[in-house]
Symmetry: C2
Subunit: 414 residues, 2 copies
């Protein structure tokens, strides 16, 4: 049956992504676009084709449901799986979509093999997670959780000036009712996703069990010095902002490397003015992204890094301003669910790794309200958000089978 399953995973990934293939490469499926509507409708058809009930909520999250046995005492409870349907621009076909397809196929597999469960099982295709069309993230899971109010997106527009509300209405959806409450029936959420990193591949593991999603702090650092002639200004008379920035980046990233996992620190963006070979840079801005699974360590390392920035700025005679514009706390996954996933992998003899997620996921919102855990399948070369995103079909299949077993434990076993 796993040969069939693998064939079905590949078929669904291709079929559902077809219309969203971007002439500039990869998949572009932004919230409420024609490509998005096409994919959600195709997913609905597939869900119904497998004999499951499909339905949308108000804002366009799509669900596929296998009802519990009518006689079950836990028939009012639901086990949820799934992920998000949207992509970044020119993204890959696995990010988000694999978790939806895996959920659909897992439920179909369980239904065919075991019939009706003791608890309802649902798969969700969340409308949006990436924030790629509108400057607003987690629109799907936030609405699922009843965490977002209409006024929060009143002034949210895409690049063409179309408001989120107008785009939503054009796609056939609308805001939730004012008194919308979070569903009380959902007792567990298990999301399967591509790793988007290279840890599983490097360590030759087949599957990852996520026990925590890292918190992250992001900073903009702005350095102001003086743009002097590169030949005529002695080193001691310079206010060289790129020299200062280099010392800061080398220092902070060096410290992060010394401290080791799960700490990561990244300077991804740098802008220098005037950026001319023979002029000492008078202005340098750079970004700093720091992540850790422990909020105390995250705060401490961030504070020490900011301290180092000010020390080096003083030493280099440049002015520094540091702006922390993102501060997201780490989110632990549910211990019991993690243990359940670990037992599943042991039982299946799957070479697994307990790990954290350095990237953000719908699960980090849901985990605060519903017991949640995640499974990761390896990403080839760690590449994601890119047309070359790829995972071997065999590894995708292992992931779906692990999800099958986990959902079995959660929905079929008393």
């Amino acid at each position: 049956m796993s040969g069939d399953l693998q064939h079905e995973i590949v078929r669904l990934l291709d079929a559902v992504g077809k219309k969203a293939e971007d002439p500039m490469g990869g998949i572009t499926r932004l919230l409420y676009t024609a490509e998005w509507v096409d994919s959600q409708m195709k997913l609905k058809d597939e869900i119904e084709g497998y004999g499951l009930r499909a339905y949308f909520d108000a804002i366009g999250n799509l669900y596929g449901r296998l009802e519990a046995d009518a006689s079950s005492r836990t028939g009012g409870e639901t086990i949820l799986t799934g992920s998000h349907v949207d992509t970044v621009r020119n993204g890959g076909k696995y990010d988000g979509m694999f978790g939806i397809i895996a959920g659909i196929l897992a439920i179909r597999y369980l239904k065919e093999k075991y019939g009706k469960p003791l608890r309802n099982i649902e798969v969700v295709s969340f409308a949006e997670e990436e924030g790629s069309r509108f400057p607003f993230v987690f629109w799907g899971s936030k609405n699922f959780l009843g965490l977002v109010k209409q006024e929060e997106v009143e002034n949210v527009f895409d690049h063409d000036g179309i408001s989120l509300a107008v785009a939503m209405h054009r796609a056939g959806f609308g805001f939730q009712k004012e008194n919308h409450e979070r569903r009380a029936d959902v007792k567990a959420f298990v999301e399967i996703h591509v790793e988007q990193g290279n840890v599983l591949e490097r360590e030759q593991k087949k599957i990852g069990i996520v026990n925590s999603i890292a918190g992250q702090r992001r900073f903009s650092v702005e350095l102001t010095g003086t743009a002097n002639h590169a030949g005529t200004t002695p080193m001691e008379y310079r206010q060289d902002t790129l020299f200062a920035a280099s010392k800061m980046i080398a220092g902070i990233l060096g410290n992060a490397k010394l401290q080791g996992r799960p700490l990561v620190a990244t300077a991804g963006f740098i802008e220098v003015k005037p950026n001319i070979v023979n002029v000492v840079p008078g202005n340098t801005n750079f970004s700093l992204d720091i992540r850790h699974t422990d909020s105390g360590i995250l705060k401490q390392f961030s504070d020490e890094s900011v301290q180092l920035i000010y020390e080096i700025a003083k030493e280099c005679d440049v002015a520094a301003t540091v702006d922390m514009w993102m501060n997201e706390s780490p989110v632990p996954m549910d211990d019991k669910l993690v243990a359940c996933l670990e037992n599943v992998c042991k039982k299946m003899n799957l070479d697994y790794k307990i790990m954290h997620s350095g990237a953000g996921h719908d699960s980090q919102l849901i985990a605060k309200h519903i017991p949640t855990a995640m499974l990761f399948v390896p990403s080839k070369d760690g590449i994601s958000h890119n047309p070359s995103e790829f995972t071997e079909p065999e590894l995708l299949t292992d992931g779906v089978l692990a999800l099958v077993e986990a959902l079995y434990q959660l929905a079929y076993v008393k």
Copy 2:
């Protein structure tokens, strides 16, 4: 008379620069443009207005000449002063032009005070030094020295596709004759220029005597790593090119600071890809400019820097290529002329500083063929190649008076 002189310096700087004032700020007077022709013709008029003989050479270098006394045994010898007439785009009104105006006014001053000299005195307004219109530098002094062949500029075009030859012909000039030889009569060249740095100002000196022009080596460093997700890639699995570049720049510039004057090292340009806050930079290119007055030390420091680049690249698991695309040797000034200028400053009780030039000048070409030295006047805040370039009129006047005295020693004293 120095009050008159100061007034005349300011009048000439304003009058000659008028048409070249750029609506976007500062002065733009590129080789063979209408602004350039206007300034050279105005300078010619001023030279003739002071009763000196003005003439152009074939390519458009302008000369103003005070003939030696007919009875002088050294009447076949010439003492030359001057600088270049062109500017960078949106440059200042002092760079280059001050040296020409100082020369004209110094010769007029000497003529009025002492009459005919024992040696001819000439001022030159070199056609070009900056390389701002065409990718070719020192066009004026190279032609003066007979160092450039017609074929060298056959494929030299400006941004609008106009060749140097066509621009030159349109301005009314043409190539030198094939058998053109360097003038044998010029026995000394003294160039006065704005410092373009902040050393004199910081050390509260009124004038600089240049004993050497620094050599410079310029490098392009290209680093190739992998663009990974900033959250999901552990520090030890990264090939982070901005981390590597930061270590290189911090290391090399730190070494330069430790070694101290006259060594300078600058990373003025950096380019990072993809340059996104949450992506580890997969590609980073940066520039390195190293200068010193001693060719041995310049080579050694450059070699050590390149060595450090390769070491850090290896340590950071990124590929590095280093391209040295400029290698200019240091040029010492003439000892006797430097001593002469020092005596002049002592005699005039001018607070001077013996120093090197970190910037390039026409003098560095001429010094290889004719005894040469330079005088610097302070630059406010060290700013040059910028509309805010400025030197106090009093300091300009001190500079002209020092040039007067130097030319007197060289052209009136046996």
